[in-house]
Symmetry: C2
Subunit: 281 residues, 2 copies
């Protein structure tokens, strides 16, 4: 129940900090796709400290589905490394609260749930490489058709750590045969946003019986001149957390991401500080 | 005291597993540069579990000096994700044992020191991008002159986590002015091996008073047509661990690395499995 909802179109024109301020004030609770272009958007996993080391190990061992981009101090709701004044209790449009592996609540803040032993892990998401594909002239069908990307429970085994393990959730995007190589190269440049594809071509090879029946999201057409390309999906860590049946864990609601001040591209711009010293000889 | 020392030249001809077998058998205790070309070599930090989460957070927040490439399970000396049968108690040529921040011993195995609460963290090292520079025709002077790379305690602040913090240790390699841009691009492609430089040009800007007086390693000449280029250094985490004055921590002896079976290049070769589906239309 919102007193006043800020329109999505209005939020497209403002900074990441201003989007977060609207969310924090309770005036926006919808998806964040397309907001604060160029800024890193994050999947979210908040877990008790007693499993945080195992979860960090799990992410390190499975970097494609679980690329860690920020970790909070235990009990500290401020995510200091991802931006200015990011309060993880209030700055995400919608949260999901799981208890013993079951969805217990969907809420728009977690102020009452925050505890001194909670650790926030922020993970890169596919928006980053999708933006890069679109910039390179490679269309992304589910975006063009305003659908949720099709997601599949695959047969790809994850490397376990402590209570965490299982199989990878993957997304599928149809890519024109002539651009598959470009799509691989472009997404590979974003290891913090799922990186290069995990499979290309035969859905059966990764345990998918029918592309038209995704486990989450909506199916999209694969045309005759296209190849289905599969990427690791950020729903993987959510799924793995559920299966671990933790007493408590909190995630974002899919699509309703944390928007950081940090840019979505890795820091390789040191040269811009020294433009005159290069290629001068 | 070695019964029989396997010559370095012999080890250059064999696989990573065979090098590790010689080390495990006590027949090789020297540096690993140039061995098992193409395989990932790792800096090593072994810490008690009670600080492992903070150390993982520290590494996540400082990925250039501390790129984590593998983490063992608590108490498990086998590093399962980096290769086959890697026993961290025996497979490194020389270890350093620190107690309360002081060097307590230099040993060739840690079988007697291993404990159920120890966690091994393996970190990428500069050998990886140095190999890539050399392949691209960019000479690396300290290698050409058979010296240890010059290392400097810089003024670059690290992002702290728990007991870990301080300033970054950086290395310097002189690069011809015409190749600085290439050196940046090439090293940036290896985020798990310190990535792009942290500074280029003026040593004073990163707190270095005199390039000829490194804090570790040996000075190398910077010629008139060259620019000093600074990269994050794997001595940083060692230094940070010392300053935290942990009751116990164990590292490799600098230069005497763990050699993994994993390749030093990131996994972006999924296309090789599907060569015929690309560029066919």
């Amino acid at each position: 129940m919102l007193d006043h909802e800020t329109p999505y179109a209005t939020l497209r024109e403002v900074s990441a900090a201003e989007v977060r301020a609207e969310i924090r004030a309770g005036r926006y609770r919808r998806h964040t796709a397309g907001l604060a272009p160029g800024k890193l958007q994050c999947n979210l996993a908040i877990v008790p400290e007693e499993v945080a080391l195992d979860f960090m190990r799990f992410c390190q061992r499975n970097p494609k589905p679980c690329p860690v981009v920020g970790v909070g101090d235990t009990g500290d709701p401020i995510l200091r490394t991802l931006g200015s004044n990011i309060d993880i209790r209030t700055d995400v449009p919608q949260y999901r609260v799981y208890r013993q592996g079951n969805l217990a609540a969907e809420v728009s803040d977690i102020k009452d749930l925050w505890r001194d032993d909670l650790v926030t892990v922020a993970l890169g998401c596919s928006f980053t490489f999708e933006n890069a594909l679109i910039e390179a002239g490679i269309p992304v069908r589910h975006i063009d058709e305003d659908k949720t990307v099709p997601m599949y429970s695959s047969s790809l085994e994850l490397t376990p750590a402590g209570p965490f393990g299982g199989t990878m959730v993957i997304t599928m995007r149809p890519i024109h045969k002539s651009r598959v190589s470009d799509a691989v190269r472009i997404s590979a440049a974003f290891p913090q946003a799922h990186g290069a594809p995990v499979a290309i071509g035969d859905p059966g090879e990764v345990g998918i019986a029918d592309l038209n029946q995704p486990d989450w999201g909506e199916p999209v057409e694969v045309r005759d001149d296209e190849v289905p390309v599969f990427w690791a999906c950020g729903v993987t860590p959510q799924n793995v957390l559920l299966q671990a049946q933790l007493p408590l864990c909190i995630t974002h609601k899919p699509g309703c991401m944390l928007i950081a001040d940090a840019g979505e591209r890795a820091d390789t711009n040191v040269l811009s500080r020294y433009p005159t010293q290069d290629k001068t000889n």
